[in-house]
Assembly symmetry: C2
Homo-oligomer: 307 residues x 2
């Protein structure tokens, strides 16, 4: 069985959507990635940092989902990273109301000894130097996946480019792909980003699905058309967790297999947005996942009469 | 062989995109629909109106593509409908610079005797009362498809609702579906629009593909990721022409077959945007269409290892 190493935030979120608002709840990229990947029964570990205020029940929750938490540093007297945001009515855009870096300001990631030989490494959204440090601690991973966002393009581009040069796969959204490449066409953008390092480029388009690029090959995974999106927080991380979780489980990093990995990522993300925070992910069953996989297949399958 | 009746504008367009601009060139919804549907070798006729200034070479072009032009009224001393527009840099939005209704202001459509028994009727974007008049002149069509836009929702909603109540299929874009239904979720929007009359709702999302709804069934056709979009003018009409052209050719109006019809619509539209106006559509060959159909199949096909 492959090992999956995940680095990213474990955090408190306070979320406001047109449907309601939450107090401080469990959040963070590594949390969503870990919960999503846990559906593939791979051995996974999270490298992160929290404060003394972080409830044990949240750490227990991660452990119960077979996530090794040895790499989550708990800082005595420290406070956990906190983000609060408010989504606009269309749920496609949001304003950040508050960001408290807290313990994240001095995060020096330490990969547990038992995960230095992890075959799969997921670098969740964080400062690129932290991502780089994790990459330097692992031996010879079979596949490294980088998730990042426009904030680092604006504020730490040089460091970000160093990480981008070292990973196999990058996942970013369409606007970020355009910003990073300077190309409006996503086909051209992906080609330019491949030249920066990654052999595979995944462009996330939210409710419009996701594209996987590799040389001249393109695969498109739709998002499931949903009656209601309740809270988009964590959807991108959940997508990434499903993607790498499926790859780690199957151990197959071919382009063909990445197609299914993207579908699983979309599948898991379609659940994530149905409730606030990680609520839906915690209640998700294997049979629900399988049912929705069948819906994904039906959604795009066709047979023409004129071939 | 089924007959296809098309009503819509035959017009002059002057187009400006970031890549250049045109003088007055051939345009109009019925023109694009007709050229697109002509790839399926169905007997088709266009009902429209032009002025004396409309060049014979354009009428010849339609005829050469097996489009019956008996229903195109040429008004002596009249001037042809003219539209000019300028696309923004992202090509997703445009400003209308000028609209001259000209002969279109008094258009009283007359369906040729030989097309009153048409099995397939495509109501291209026009005043809903004109569309209604065409519907009243045909006997018992097997399938009627309505294309419309927000302009009529803003300015002739009552008339529009009458046409919507009478057709089998409606094709509109995502923003228009939201406006018409008052629902943000496209799943909910489609359900509400079905209650207005059409049994099938097609929602066009431009570069993000198209959705087909029928009761609880949903099908999604991706747009082909293109390196370059040169001029989006006519893409929606070309999509509609491909959709109804394929259905008329196969004579099969089942949901299953509509899936392929949507793929053909997307396929044809992907060519339309490659050059200014109708230029690419005029040069399009059957083998190019078939090659791209194969690309559409590759784009979304996947096999998972965990079923």
């Amino acid at each position: 069985m492959s090992k999956l190493l995940i680095v990213g935030t474990v955090a408190f979120d306070a979320i406001e959507t047109p449907f309601g608002k939450t107090d401080k709840i469990l959040g963070g990229a590594a949390t969503y990635i870990g919960l999503s990947a846990s559906h593939f029964n791979v051995d996974s570990a999270v490298v992160s940092i929290v404060g003394e205020d972080f409830p044990n029940q949240y750490l227990d929750l991660l452990q119960k989902n077979n996530i090794d938490i040895e790499g989550i540093e708990v800082v005595k007297g420290g406070k956990t990273f906190f983000w609060s945001g408010k989504y606009h009515n269309d749920l496609n855009s949001r304003d950040t109301l508050e960001t408290q870096l807290n313990v994240l300001a001095d995060f020096n990631p330490v990969v547990p000894e038992s995960y230095k030989d992890a075959e799969f490494v997921m670098l969740g959204n964080l400062h690129p130097l932290v991502q780089l440090s994790v990459l330097e601690q692992v031996k010879e991973p079979k596949l490294t996946v980088l998730d990042t966002m426009n904030f680092w393009m604006d504020n730490a581009l040089e460091d970000l480019m160093k990480v981008i040069a070292k990973v196999d796969v990058i996942t970013i959204n369409d606007e970020e792909a355009r910003q990073l490449s300077g190309e409006y066409s996503l086909v051209k953008a992906a080609r330019k980003i491949e030249e920066m390092g990654p052999k595979y480029v995944v462009i996330k388009k939210g409710e419009h699905g996701a594209l996987l690029f590799h040389k001249d090959d393109i695969f498109f995974a739709p998002a499931l058309p949903l009656e209601e999106v309740f809270d988009p927080t964590g959807a991108g991380d959940t997508f990434a967790g499903g993607f790498i979780g499926y790859l780690a489980r199957t151990g197959d990093v071919s382009f063909e297999n990445m197609k299914s990995a993207i579908i699983y990522g979309s599948n898991l993300a379609s659940f994530c947005v149905e409730k606030f925070g990680t609520e839906r992910m915690q209640a998700l069953t294997q049979s629900q996942l399988n049912e929705r996989l069948a819906e994904f297949k039906k959604l795009t399958k066709f047979e023409t009469q004129l071939d």
